[in-house]
Symmetry: C2
């Protein structure tokens, strides 16, 4: 298979399984500059699926870097009006949205003032984007482009063949029928979510080296996994790959301490050895060996940025986890293991449209699971139900 | 000098002489994808000049190609609302605009339906853009990025060093004081424009092999050259390089036939051996050995697309012409020799704000001059005043 044919298979998956583009739809593609060759193939696949118009916007991390270095403070997190217009138009006209990540070179954002980098996050645009996802106003999906930079990060050399093999296994393109494999995977995650809902847990507890964290849930917290549905009923798979079941917690009831089990990427920076102490839902202490100021800055963006918006469970059957790699992008790494997210909660992961969920303009996932971390569901009467031990999923099927 | 230092010198020229970015201004950069490394340096130069915010949009010709191949007819020339919002915001807030071209590979648009390509021109956006320029609502400039593709087109190999030398000579970066050299050049072109205005020509006539064309002027036609001024008085140099003096003609009074003396680039296609017959201002017959359907399609976009909006004079002292190259982008080639443009007229090139000028959503320049083409100014009483012979400028200084 040529590189183009490989990209085209991946692009079709993004369009047909991920965003599930409908005939006649307008499609927004938000792609990092390095992802251009993949974004171009996704655009083709979208037109092939009947898209009316495909509009690609390229994000250039070099420009972000320059802005953080040189722009006046007042314009740092400013979103130009057109960026809001573009997204709102998709929200108002049942558009599709495909985000195409390119994993950054870890050096790319080195040496920047991380507080300024954190402020460059464009809160107004992020908030609108989270609103679009929360209210199901676009059918969307996030994918990551295979690039030489990514291969070099993973293997020390730009070995694209090896990257492709890891990606194809993680996103089930190694299956004879990838679309069928995804249908089964979505079904399996949906079943897990239904089992968790039936348990009516009051909290989730993580216990492991450096971690003793209890994440309180809302009575309305609803577990979600696999696919989602737009407000008008279009099924889509928001992340490719996806291996998680998740819900949105009570923003006032997270207690304890948690140590990240993998580095995370935020604004192009690799954040290492993150540790967060929570009290009454607030992240009151944040430490990291690299990227500390960035995460502290992110958590200070607004009132809700220091509270949790998501808790997600992933077991060791994860195709992503099984690759044994730190992919260096949250899209993949959060699907290797359990994670929680600071910031905006998920209205679609409640039974009542999102009353009482956390509100923020950011949503920052970090990985807290692994074979060494025990995960329990706690019922209202205090009973602990083991959910994960040694990475194995323990909740029995009824 | 390193490649980055060379780009930075060029970028400073674009920002300081071209758009003349003011402190506190917002800057839009519209760049072709291949021009990204140059656009990134222009963004830095703009912040260094005091820009408040720099917003780069990348245009990807591969996506245009895909759209022309695959998009439904109805969306082909559609401009997404955000693109209009983006430009309008700059127009309403005294923004600066820098366009960064990348010369296409001549193969890039081969094999497309040229009528469809012509229709993909986004008339609404082009019209707004022409309005911004005509009304002086942004300080703007167009530059072209040095790329391997461009070098390969010119020299048969990606000889960037040779390209840089041609560019640096054409844009006066080979001068000890490029900014001073541009000040002198702008002054010189302004003086030529004043001389032409003083002649009150009724028409300009081109006579050469395959060409006998009379372009009638308006009584209000005003000659312009070098720099322009925004509505609020900001001087800028719209094209780098610029070697032309030009005005806007009477859209109803072009008569005769004209043969292009150089190929021209439109929508990524190299149009060769263009010949146009005019009657009462209308291009009634268009022929070309390559790109004929494209130009016929462009001239049919709207009522004014088949009439002239500009006539421009360039003599053999042109730094661009002296390079002896077909650069393959109108920005350069139109500054090598005399040219005319189909489509939108230029309100700032009249004495009365643009009454009676041509209206269109396109502005398509093509080259009609050269040592073999005689150019005369015709006065109202029919006297022919020689303006160019053998490429030499003949109009005497008072």
């Amino acid at each position: 298979m040529t590189e183009i044919e490989r990209l085209d298979r991946y692009a079709r998956l993004a369009v047909e399984v991920g965003a599930n583009v409908a005939s006649g739809q307008d499609v927004l593609i938000d792609a990092y500059l390095d992802a251009a060759p993949f974004a171009q193939r996704i655009a083709r696949a979208a037109y092939a699926a009947g898209a009316r118009h495909v509009d690609v916007h390229y994000t250039d991390r070099q420009l972000l870097r320059t802005q953080v270095e040189m722009a006046p403070e007042e314009s740092l997190g400013w979103a130009p009006p057109w960026a809001l217009t573009r997204l709102r138009h998709a929200m108002d006209h049942r558009g599709a949205l495909i985000q195409v990540l390119a994993v950054p070179d870890p050096e790319e954002m080195e040496g920047l003032d991380q507080r300024r980098l954190a402020r460059a996050v464009q809160p107004e645009l992020r908030q609108l984007s989270l609103q679009a996802l929360n209210q199901g106003l676009v059918n969307w999906s996030i994918v990551a482009a295979p690039t030489a930079t990514w291969a070099r990060n993973l293997f020390g050399e730009p070995d694209l063949e090896r990257l492709w093999q890891a990606l194809e296994a993680a996103i089930r393109l190694d299956e004879p029928d990838p679309v069928g494999a995804w249908r089964a995977q979505v079904e399996r995650l949906g079943e897990r979510a239904r089992l968790l809902d039936a348990c009516h847990f009051d909290a989730i507890r993580f216990l492991g080296p450096g971690t003793d964290l209890t994440v309180g849930l809302l009575p309305s917290s609803h577990w979600v996994g696999g696919s989602q549905e737009t407000a008008w009923g279009r099924r889509h798979v928001p992340n490719l790959p996806t291996e998680e079941v998740f819900t949105t917690p009570d923003p006032g009831r997270t207690e304890g301490v948690v140590r990240a089990t993998r580095p995370l990427e935020w604004m192009g920076v690799r954040v290492c050895d993150l540790e967060v102490q929570f009290s009454r839902g607030r992240a009151c202490e944040i430490r990291a060996s690299h990227g500390q100021d960035l995460i502290r800055g992110a958590a200070a963006i607004d009132e809700g940025a220091c509270r949790l918006g998501e808790v997600a469970l992933v077991d060791s059957t994860s195709r992503v986890g099984q690759q044994g790699l730190i992919f260096g992008t949250t899209l993949f790494d959060e699907n290797a293991t359990c994670h929680i997210a600071l910031g905006q909660g998920l209205a679609f992961a409640t039974l009542d449209g999102g009353n009482g969920i956390n509100r923020s303009s950011i949503h920052l996932d970090f990985m807290v699971g692994g074979p060494e971390v025990e995960v329990d569901g706690l019922t209202a009467d205090g009973t602990a139900v083991p959910l994960l031990r040694d990475g194995d999923w323990l909740l029995p099927t009824r």
